[in-house]
């Protein structure tokens, strides 16, 4: 092996050169290089690692599994260089991760020297074989380095990529690279959102904000300013839909016109009205036409009157009111009756009271009382106490699936991808629901945004005075809920911010006595409060979540206590029939249970298992029908901790209460728990047997199918496992194109072969057909 020796010396020389070029790097790697080189070219199989090891031990503290050195083949065949390619790939990732330069440098140089040799051997056509996918991903990683590396490294990577594709030994590398890669090192396809800085807001309407920034806002009842104008009375029960939103919210809306046209004109006009408080008398005719146009839903009682804000926006509200004389007259009628206790009682529906009840803080309560008692006088409210939300970012519409298709399958394939977007549906609640149920949540978020813009709470509107209606808050809820569902927690947090703690006076019906005469309680949907409370835990602040949930719990408990003491939810002395009281108690008990659920989930996230288990146990009190599921869940928590015995105890308890479920369901649950228990005892074979047992009685059970496949892998049956998962996905894509299933599948593809890319792309195509824009593409591991 003379030739080998000479080669390795020349290697060392070259290395020496490169080392000097990189004089700023640590000196250490020079020796290391030699060691590695020696190993690469001279060592026999059995003497290898022990020498190297000592060098490695000190220098690498990375605990991730990673490929260290790739050895030669006896013949110095092409495998040789190929493996360097792989090494390079891993090293790249490693560096992207932690800039552990010394080691990386060595490997790189080693590679370089080899490259120079092999270039003579390899035919040029190889170089042209550069795989697009690998190259793409590698280049991304390279960018980070390029700043400090010599340009020639760039070329080495290109070769690397080529080698990768032709390499025999790629499977291992693929896997090892996945096992080393951290999410942070990968370029995540986060949808790009344009975020408007808040600074712009101040500029858009500077005159509203006086320099001192602390301007008391005048609050007066619109009726005060406008009561003189009209005295026509009509039936107070007729409720006019909101001029701003009815067009979009009405179920009977027929128009499918491009919404944007409408929004533009509408928002602009709204804008003007706020700007010119004195312009109220000169409202353009077209506005009233617009407001009334297509108002087929006027008789729909669920739409409540929205006629503006009682704060300094009173001017604008009077604009809106004045625009349409007819509804205004009706509103006047309502106002006239607003201090009549009977009218109040009539307007306050049982359901509304039950659902909207909420206990405001002392401060808020006093403001609300003031609003109620000083209807005809002017009062001032700090702007800080008002809720002025606005969209914080431009549309997040985007289809990650399509982006991936363009990248991997080409434009043509991507054209076939057809999903609904905000433009392709009715600009209404109906369209919104359509988008949600077709899992196009991004588009749905968009549509919410448009509808909110129409309400004057669009982009850059945050911090501007506005008024709230039941519908606007529901829209906000839907939008924020979808953002959370899309894991866009930061975006949700930003848009939640103006709502404060959801206790500002203008979020209560009492604040708008003229719009919602007699109606009491909070406009904020209970679910929105839950969402608001849960949000911080997803942003790494579970303590804040717990605090919020605790205060919700206190209010729910207080409301329940009120109900049980024979008074109304809010503590008033309203008479409630026994049936209604019972229904109320039921509702609030389940709400309290929901809060407890969130607390338990939050505690689980905090890994405070003892408290979490305790809380889950108390939930059984509120949702007795869920006892078997809850006990099973607790059992799984203990399994996760590793406390198999306690887990077993809970699983046994489950078997005592399964009579709460129907036969099949209880059978499945018992089998499932047994399977999990075997899993905890490291008995994958038995676990697999039980999961398969479930499939015998319920062949469509997604969980059992997936779990059985996972067990197969642990039993060393990769191919069987793959077959099972693939079969599932093909037979029933509706259920099996789930993040977790696909994640497992792609992981196994990577383990199986270097050809995993093709199979992953096939999955992408399947996803493209079935899934909406909310699909989380990360589970395909295509990036």
């Amino acid at each position: 092996s003379n030739s080998k020796d000479t080669r390795s010396t020349s290697d060392e020389d070259e290395r020496g050169d490169t080392t000097q070029q990189k004089a700023q790097e640590e000196i250490l790697f020079h020796e290391e290089t030699i060691d590695l080189g020696g190993d690469d070219f001279e060592s026999e199989e059995n003497e290898t690692v022990s020498e190297d090891l000592n060098n490695f031990v000190d220098k690498l503290n990375e605990q991730m599994m990673e490929s260290v050195i790739i050895s030669d083949s006896p013949n110095n065949s092409e495998d040789d260089t190929g493996e360097f390619g792989c090494l390079q790939e891993i090293v790249e990732q490693m560096e992207a991760k932690d800039n552990q330069n010394a080691q990386v440098q060595v490997d790189k140089e080693e590679f370089l020297s080899n490259e120079s040799e092999t270039e003579h051997e390899e035919t040029p056509k190889d170089i042209s074989e550069i795989g697009t996918d690998d190259q793409a991903s590698l280049k991304e990683e390279l960018i980070q380095e390029a700043v400090k590396e010599e340009p020639k490294l760039g070329s080495s990577v290109a070769v690397t990529t080529k080698l990768n594709n032709t390499d025999e030994s790629k499977p291992e590398d693929q896997i090892s690279s996945t096992s080393t890669s951290k999410p942070s090192s990968e370029v995540e396809p986060i949808p790009v959102c344009t975020i408007f800085s808040q600074a712009n807001n101040a500029n858009s309407q500077p005159h509203l904000f006086l320099p001192d920034g602390f301007e008391p806002q005048m609050v007066k009842s619109p009726s005060f300013s406008s009561i003189i104008e009209n005295t026509v009375k009509s039936n107070p029960q007729v409720v006019q839909p909101s001029p701003s939103l009815s067009k979009f919210f009405g179920d009977t809306v027929t128009t499918n016109a491009l919404a944007s046209d409408f929004f533009d004109s509408f928002t602009t006009s709204n804008f003007i009205s706020v700007n010119n408080p004195n312009a109220s008398s000169s409202v353009p005719e077209q506005m009233s036409a617009l407001a009334n146009g297509g108002d087929g839903a006027s008789s729909n009682p669920t739409f409540t009157v929205q006629n503006g804000r009682p704060d300094e926006g009173a001017a604008s509200s009077s604009v809106e009111v004045n625009q349409s004389p007819k509804p205004f007259s009706q509103i006047q009628a309502v106002f006239a009756g607003s201090d009549d206790p009977f009218a109040t009682a009539l307007n306050m529906s049982e359901l509304d009271r039950r659902n909207d009840a909420w206990l405001p803080s002392e401060e808020t309560r006093s403001v609300l009382i003031a609003v109620a008692t000083q209807q005809y006088s002017t009062m001032f409210i700090d702007k800080e106490n008002l809720t002025m939300p606005g969209l914080k970012f431009d549309n997040i519409q985007g289809d990650a699936v399509k982006d991936l298709m363009i990248r991997f399958l080409g434009e043509q394939a991507a054209v076939k991808r057809q999903v609904l977007n905000a433009n392709s549906v009715e600009q209404s609640f109906v369209g919104l629901k359509q988008l949600i149920s077709s899992k196009n949540w991004r588009a749905a978020v968009d549509l919410c945004g448009r509808l909110l813009s129409a309400h004057g709470q669009g982009y850059k509107k945050s911090g501007l005075p506005t008024s709230h209606t039941t519908d606007s808050l529901q829209l906000w809820f839907v939008r924020l809920a979808l953002l959370v569902k899309l894991n866009l927690f930061h975006n949700a947090e930003m848009e939640f911010e103006p709502f404060g703690n959801l206790d500002q006076p203008d979020l209560y019906y009492e604040y708008y006595p003229h719009v919602y005469p007699g109606r009491k309680g909070s406009m904020v949907p209970f679910s929105m409060r839950i969402l608001h409370a849960e949000l911080p835990q997803y942003l790494g602040n579970p303590q804040e979540s717990l605090d919020r949930l605790h205060s919700m719990k206190i209010i729910c408990a207080k409301i329940l206590e009120n109900l049980e003491h024979g008074i109304a939810e809010d503590g008033s002395m309203t008479n409630i029939t026994p049936e209604n009281r019972q229904a109320s108690i039921q509702l609030w008990r389940s709400r309290l249970g929901r809060v407890m659920y969130s607390m338990a989930n939050c505690l689980l996230m905090m890994k405070d298992y003892v408290l979490a288990v305790e809380t889950y146990l108390t939930i059984i009190k509120y949702y007795p029908q869920q006892e078997p599921q809850l006990l099973s869940g607790i059992g799984r928590i203990f399994l996760q901790i590793g406390d198999i015995k306690t887990a077993e105890k809970y699983f046994q308890d489950v078997e005592k209460v399964t009579h709460k479920l129907d036969g099949l369901q209880s059978q499945i649950m018992v089998l499932m728990n047994r399977a999990f228990l075997h899993l905890g005892q490291n008995n994958f074979a038995e676990a697999h047997r039980f999961f398969t047992e479930i499939l015998r009685i319920d062949s469509s059970n997604t969980v059992a199918n997936n779990n059985a496949a996972v067990c197969l892998l642990y039993l060393g049956k990769l191919k069987d496992s793959l077959r099972q998962l693939e079969g599932m996905v093909q037979q029933d894509p509706k259920h099996y194109l789930h993040e977790s299933v696909l994640f497992n599948l792609t992981t196994m593809y990577e383990l199986e072969s270097s050809r995993s890319m093709q199979k992953k792309q096939a999955l992408l195509e399947a996803v493209a057909i079935k899934e909406g824009d909310s699909f989380n593409t990360q589970c395909l591991k295509l990036g």
């Binding site: 260290v68 949600i436 809820f477 839907v478 899993l679």
Partner: protein, 395 residues
């Protein structure tokens, strides 16, 4: 190659709404349709869906390293005589982990050879998994390649011990076990395996009304960085206790055996090295108190019993002297002969004394003189006794 850590359970993010909310039951329906939720209790975050490990994770001393090794034929050719070998190289040794060393006759395209290897890691530091594959191509060419996968084995626990020597020859062992991993750890077993000299009693259970409960309450697990304190009482076994000289100097107490479990029953086990303690030196002659009242009356005599043990290698002839201090007055004759005392034997001695001062008084002033070597041993602060005036004691 893929490390087989235990799979994890998929968690979902529940987003619910009420019927009267704008989406109606849409959100709830979406959650029902999601296969990863728990049917009937969709709000429960922890689902039942297993997901495969996403990264290598951490491996700790005492845990079992499991790995899936798959050799897949990506080519279009059939290859023959495939031999897959998996070795684990540690800083001190090289272990063969492959289940079988027999060569596989042939591997068709798109087929694979699978193996799952297990190994309980017994060393800290760098481990390298070496996978070697050799095969013969259709043209008869011998091919060979190897792969190296490196990982670090970390220390999972920090164990600190402390000994307390009781007057009665018992030894109390306080062991602090800290979880220095990043995940919660369920302590399945922490026990002390005593050396042959001792018998052990675990003091980690509270016996409340017949039901013994762990001193750690319902918290059966250790959070990351949490420390637990275990207490053990060791008694010298009867046969050794008699021979006082035996337990002298550095003695081996025993070792702690710790078994823990983490995610889904991933098990780990560690033993400490032999714990050693320095037995308190008693010099040549040891004087220990057998009985003493805790409270005595002022100026009234009381009895104590002492045990005098010859810890030396020679026979002693002892003389006892008793010296009064400010408060302690001995009764009886000072300078009496105690007679010959053979090595490792002991004698009991009843003494009477009284205190002239109230309060907590220290019993001091015993002197033993070995007449053979003319060596005097002084014993002060042997014990303390609470002296009260007789009226107090009676009332």
């Amino acid at each position: 190659v893929m490390r087989l850590t235990k799979p994890t359970l998929f968690t979902n993010i529940p987003v619910t709404c009420e019927e009267r909310d704008l989406p109606g039951n849409l959100f709830n329906q979406l959650m029902k349709d999601d296969p990863s939720t728990v049917k009937g209790a969709e709000t429960l975050m922890l689902g039942e869906m297993l997901t495969l490990p996403q990264n290598f994770g951490n491996i700790f001393l005492g845990e079992t390293f499991s790995s899936y090794i798959s050799v897949h034929n990506d080519s279009t050719q059939v290859v023959k005589d495939i031999l897959v070998k998996a070795d684990l190289q540690t800083s001190s040794q090289r272990l063969n982990l492959s289940a079988s060393s027999a060569a596989v006759a042939e591997l068709k395209p798109d087929c694979c050879i699978d193996d799952v290897i297990h190994h309980e890691v017994k060393e800290i530091g760098t481990h390298i998994l070496v996978c070697a594959v050799s095969y013969t191509t259709q043209t008869g060419e011998k091919m060979y390649f190897r792969k190296f996968f490196k990982f670090q084995v970390l220390k999972p626990l920090d164990v600190k011990t402390k000994f307390y020597n009781a007057e009665t020859d018992e030894v109390f062992l306080e062991a602090q076990i800290q979880n220095i991993t990043t995940s919660p750890m369920f302590m399945e077993k922490v026990s002390l395996e005593p050396s042959i000299l001792y018998s052990v009693a675990e003091l980690n259970m509270i016996d409340t009304t017949g039901k013994s409960e762990s001193t750690f309450g319902s918290r059966t697990y250790l959070q990351p960085m949490d420390t637990r304190q275990y207490l053990y009482c060791l008694k010298p076994k009867q046969e050794f206790a008699e021979k006082a000289g035996v337990i002298k100097g550095v003695t081996v107490i025993g070792k702690l055996d710790i078994v823990w479990k983490t995610n889904l029953g991933e098990r780990g086990r560690l033993q400490t090295s032999q714990l050693q303690r320095m037995a308190p030196g008693y010099g040549d002659v040891r004087l220990s108190l057998e009985t003493i009242p805790d409270t005595v009356n002022l100026e009234e005599p009381f009895d104590i019993t002492c045990k005098i043990t010859n810890c030396s290698e020679r026979t002693m002839d002892l003389v006892l002297e008793m010296c009064n201090s400010n408060s302690i007055h001995w009764c009886g004759v000072s300078g009496r002969q105690l007679g010959k005392l053979h090595p490792s034997s002991s004698l009991h001695l009843a003494l009477t004394l009284l205190s002239s001062v109230q309060g907590l008084q220290s019993v001091s002033g015993l002197r033993l003189t070995d007449t053979f070597l003319k060596r005097t041993y002084e014993y002060d602060d042997i014990a303390q006794v609470c002296v009260v005036s007789s009226e107090v004691k009676q009332s």
